[in-house]
């Protein structure tokens, strides 16, 4: 039911075009399939305050029953890097239970996902990539939703 995701996203869009929490901005929402968001992190020396990170949200027609696909993307101008974090692979794929079918709740929305990722980065103390990053980045051909992540670290 395409009308489900579009109606919901329309409402979300109206809301986030109004106000958003500090550090979260809507870059573009050209249609109701893919949105681009920017986030920045305050108060964590791992992430310089002037650096901003770009995320791409892709929605399936059954959003919000199904979780959106969320990845970080690299851009040359304006410069956007993949933030360093033990749960973010260098190709931008995020290992977060919230984005998996088990952890996702249809009550979540784009804003709450941004806030969760922002706080995940703000609370990070390790400037490192996930174990096996190079191997994963080289060999992964799966879409994030099809990867079976093991959420072994409930703290981060």
């Amino acid at each position: 039911m395409a009308s489900m995701s579009s109606k919901r996203l329309q409402k979300e869009l109206t809301k986030i075009q109004g106000t958003l929490p500090p550090g979260i901005t809507l870059v573009s929402a050209p249609d109701l399939r893919e949105w681009v968001m920017d986030i920045s992190i305050i108060d964590n020396p791992i992430y310089p305050p002037n650096e901003t990170y770009r995320m791409r949200f892709s929605f399936s027609p059954s959003y919000p029953i199904e979780a959106p696909e969320v990845v970080f993307v690299v851009l040359a101008a304006p410069e956007r890097k993949i933030p360093i974090h033990p749960h973010i692979y260098s190709n931008g794929i995020i290992c977060l239970d919230l984005l998996d079918s088990q952890g996702w709740s249809p009550v979540h929305n784009v804003e709450s996902v941004c806030i969760s990722i922002q706080s995940m980065l703000a609370g990070n103390t390790k400037a490192e990539r996930p174990p096996g990053d190079a191997e994963f980045v080289r060999s992964n051909r799966q879409r994030p939703r099809d990867i079976n992540f093991l959420y072994h670290d409930p703290k981060v």
Partner: protein
């Protein structure tokens, strides 16, 4: 190995000596939750029947076949029983039992110790609303999923109070059941809410096609959760089998069970019947055959080994003076002796035996012997597998043959049944024979081996005789009727002798030739 294609043995009354529901077995489920009595029909002739039944053979194991309705009834009975004890509604009790993996006693104990914690962990904690969940229309309600706020919007909430519109709830449940194959632990769509959706609420919300799938999934988890229940692996079969055999007993018993769909399989590993070979050996054997049977054949036929470093060498031309590429050892291809001892008799080994050549051939012979040994058993195993496949083809032609025979002679339909019985006996015996060879490969040689091999040989001879008769043209078959019937009975008896003997020995503990096990395998 294509095990799916193996012959499905068909049960005859003969080798099901003691029926599945007779006396208590050696491995009878001692803490099985299932109430046998309730599912068994008592007809007052019980004792007499038991006295008349032949005794259970050593290779037979008690088991029982359940239809989906039986399994549903089992679940319902247990839910009803526990529900009265815990004073919980049926749908909540079902959730509790699933959480406790249907271990009633432990669940009741835990529940009595700490009711709050158990309810919470099972997904039944924190009741916000007391009234049973139903579809309601609430003023000023906005659905958090679709953001719909039309007045008169029908909405639903579990006891946790997280309310969503009916359409969203339906979509959510459809996604979980259809998309993710989830049933036992579908949670409330609310963020972080642990509340499990119960069967009653589901019935309120979704249409029958989805409830059917939901109950099917629940049934699947029930059987999967219970150690003493397994689905029959035959395609499209809906039955489940109950058998009390334990994992740790699988070295001492081969629990072949017979489903009502006529498929017989091992309860331990769900592979088709592999008596008398225990599961762990079957696994090893299949792996070994998959790995190296064809390669080993070729190596045996076409290569020799370097007498020094034992590298496998294929001579693809040239003279008898060999230089091993690996260890630079020079030797003669003919006598395998050192080349330095060959003097001037180059390229034509007619030399008198020196010691080095003898030793080298000895060592080679030993290593070849182990390969030959494997091939010996493999070829026989393989032969029976192939023959069983051919017999299966013949089985399909049997009926035609039976009709032909009826018209050619003046026999009645009943009188030609011996052909079908012979065909079934052939397949069953070949299946057994096949696995005796895999079993024999791993068996350590001792006095008892001879008994085993004699039994094996007797069965094999009987099977080949019967097989030969079976292939005879139709006009001769009517004359062979009595002889074939006798042979069929004889084959079946020989098969029972083999199985009975090995089963008894397995129970006592068999010594295996661990050398062939490879490393790190403990049986």
């Amino acid at each position: 190995m294509d095990s799916d294609d193996e012959v499905n043995s068909v049960i005859s009354s003969e080798d099901l000596g003691g029926d599945a529901d007779s006396s208590v077995g050696d491995f009878g489920g001692d803490d099985s939750d299932v109430d046998f009595d309730e599912l068994q029909e008592h007809d007052g002739f019980d004792t007499q029947e038991k006295d008349l039944k032949p005794r259970k053979k050593a290779f037979e194991i008690d088991h029982k076949v359940y239809s989906p309705e039986d399994i549903q009834r089992q679940q319902d009975d247990q839910v009803a029983e526990v529900a009265t004890l815990l004073e919980q509604p049926h749908e909540s009790t079902a959730i509790l039992l699933r959480y406790g993996r249907w271990n009633k006693e432990r669940l009741i104990e835990q529940y009595m110790d700490n009711q709050e914690e158990v309810l919470d962990k099972a997904g039944l904690g924190q009741d916000v609303q007391k009234s049973p969940p139903r579809i309601e229309v609430i003023d000023g309600f906005v659905c958090d999923i679709c953001c719909e706020d039309t007045p008169g919007l029908r909405s639903f909430a579990l006891k946790c109070g997280h309310r969503f519109c009916v359409d969203c709830y339906r979509q959510y449940l459809a996604q979980k059941i259809r998309g993710e194959g989830e049933a036992a632990r579908i949670k409330c769509p609310g963020d972080g809410c642990n509340r499990v959706v119960d069967a009653k609420s589901l019935d309120i919300l979704v249409r029958t096609d989805l409830t059917d799938r939901y109950h099917q999934l629940l049934m699947r988890t029930y059987v999967d959760d219970k150690e003493n229940l397994k689905w029959c692996p035959s395609p499209n079969c809906v039955y489940a089998i109950e058998c009390g055999v334990r994992k740790r007993d699988l070295t001492r018993v081969v629990p072949t069970v017979f489903c009502d769909c006529k498929h017989s399989f091992c309860f331990g590993c769900t592979l088709p019947d592999h008596q008398p070979c225990p599961c762990s050996l079957v696994k090893l054997w299949l792996k070994k055959c998959e790995d190296d049977s064809e390669t080993a054949n070729w190596i045996s036929a076409n290569t020799k080994e370097c007498p020094k470093c034992h590298s496998t060498i294929e001579k693809n031309g040239g003279c008898n003076h060999m230089t091993c590429r690996k260890c630079r050892n020079e030797f003669c291809w003919m006598c395998m002796g050192m080349w330095s001892e060959h003097g001037t008799s180059w390229y034509n080994c007619s030399r008198f035996e020196e010691k080095s050549g003898l030793d080298a051939r000895d060592a080679q012979a030993r290593s070849r012997q182990s390969l030959e040994r494997y091939l010996h058993y493999f070829n026989r195993y393989h032969n029976h597998e192939q023959s069983a496949k051919l017999d299966k083809d013949i089985f399909h032609k049997t009926e035609k043959k039976m009709t032909l025979l009826q018209s050619a002679s003046d026999m009645s339909w009943i009188e030609v049944q011996f052909l079908e019985e012979a065909s079934q006996a052939l397949q069953r015996c070949r299946q057994t024979l096949k696995w005796t060879y895999a079993f024999a490969y791993y068996l350590a040689r001792n006095n008892e081996t001879e008994i085993f091999e004699d039994n094996q040989k007797n069965l094999e001879l009987a099977v080949e005789d019967l097989s030969e008769m079976f292939e005879k043209p139709t006009d001769q078959l009517s004359g062979l009727r009595v002889e074939m019937m006798d042979k069929t009975t004889f084959c079946n008896r020989r098969r029972i002798v083999v199985l009975d003997d090995t089963a008894k020995r397995l129970k006592e503990g068999v010594s295996y030739n661990l050398h062939f096990y490879g490393f790190g395998v403990v049986c």
